[in-house]
Amino acid sequence: MQLSPRLIGHDVRCVRGGREVFSSLAFEARAGEALAVTGHNGAGKTSLLRLIAGLLLPAGGTIAIEGGEGELTVPEQAHYLGHRDALKPALSVRENLTFWADFLGGGMTRPIPDCLAAVGIAHAIDLPAGYLSAGQRRRLSLARLLAVPRLLWLLDEPTAALDVAGQAMFAGLMREHLAGGGLIVAATHGPLGIDTRELRIGS
């Protein structure tokens, strides 16, 4: 029987620059569930996402996906959308997205124009990414999540720089991802526009 995938963090401890950010943190998210990480500035929201993404090493505890894709590690099954948007200003919108689709997806990808249309920047497909506004850059980063299917989305302030229509569009995309059995962990200050379970870190 195929288990529905679960992301489980157990007794996670994070130390940055010799200072303990948080400890004994436990969390769990099931397929189709979104976890909203909240907390004051400096509570360790970004650190938690980077721990799950394998970009920081935990000082203690374990993070694992149960019932995921075979031998793959957690980072290999995840998309990470950070503050920095991983776009090259010299390349066009199409070239940027095609690169990430080829590099991350290895063939299993959705057509590029479809993804760009879904995030509402299809008209800018041949424009160099350097000419995009902050909101458009964010939309292009979101298109990466659609281009390559991944179980887990790690989102750091995903709605920053998005206008109201963009936030509604993104809420729709997240709902689709969850309906398809995906998982979301998002660090956020504002509402995401979808049903979430709150994980509060820091006092």
């Binding site: 993404a53 290999e76 990470y80 503050h83 920095r84 590099f103």
Partner: protein, 222 residues
């Protein structure tokens, strides 16, 4: 393979676009070599004797000049995070990035050599020998330099540190590169021996470079 091909294509494309920096190395190489006859004076015999060493020094410094952007550019915009997370082993991704860097910045140096050889009063055989040794040796400079680039990635002004770290490791390549060129031009040693050692240095760097760079990138995570 799709993933590595995509990475190589992207890096070359960025390097060749405006502001990409592929031509900076060649221009620097050109500047150093063009100025040298003016500094040495109109002694053609001396120029011929120094020629291979000047070309090799120019190529070594030119390849160092562009190496510090190898990982910093990707680190600054967050691409490096995604490359580390991806399903492609980081060692292979590093090797692909170094190969792309060599194709965009190292190969042009080799291509420019015959033209610059004229300025140093080198005949066709000598120029050919230097170009051949550069073709065999510059990949080693890139793959060794990649280790320094990976170590200096989190530092905002790591360029000088990179030079200090990488230059000692590049010295063997320089010695055997110039020795092989001299052997081909004036003898008395055969060309084969130093040239084989130069090729061996390149092959060793292909193996050690990606592993060392990937290890230092993983340890430098923040």
């Amino acid at each position: 393979m799709t993933a590595l091909g995509a990475l190589i294509r992207r890096d070359i494309r960025i390097a060749l676009r405006i502001g990409g920096g592929a031509l900076i190395g060649v221009l620097f190489f050109l500047t150093v070599v063009v100025l040298m006859p003016f500094a040495v004076g109109p002694d053609l015999a001396l120029l011929t004797r120094l020629g291979p060493a000047i070309l090799w020094l120019g190529a070594l410094l030119a390849s160092l000049l562009t190496l510090d952007r190898l990982f910093t550019a990707d680190h600054e915009d967050g691409s490096l995070d995604l490359i580390i997370m991806s399903r492609t082993p980081l060692e292979l991704a590093c090797a692909a990035k170094a190969l792309a860097h060599w194709l965009a910045a190292g190969l042009p140096l080799v291509i420019a050599t015959p033209v610059l050889g004229l300025l140093l009063n080198l005949d066709a055989t000598a120029t050919g020998a230097v170009a051949l040794t550069l073709l065999a040796g510059t990949p080693a400079l890139t793959f060794i330099g990649m280790i320094g680039a990976a170590l200096a990635v989190t530092m905002s002004r790591g360029g000088l540190l990179l030079a200090v770290l990488v230059l000692p490791l590049s010295i063997p390549v320089l010695i055997f590169g110039v020795a092989a060129s001299q052997a081909a031009i004036v003898g008395p040693l055969p060309f084969g021996a130093p040239f084989s050692i130069l090729c061996a240095l390149s092959l060793v760097s292909f193996v050690i470079g990606p592993f060392a760079a990937a290890t230092s990138l993983r340890n430098g995570l923040d």
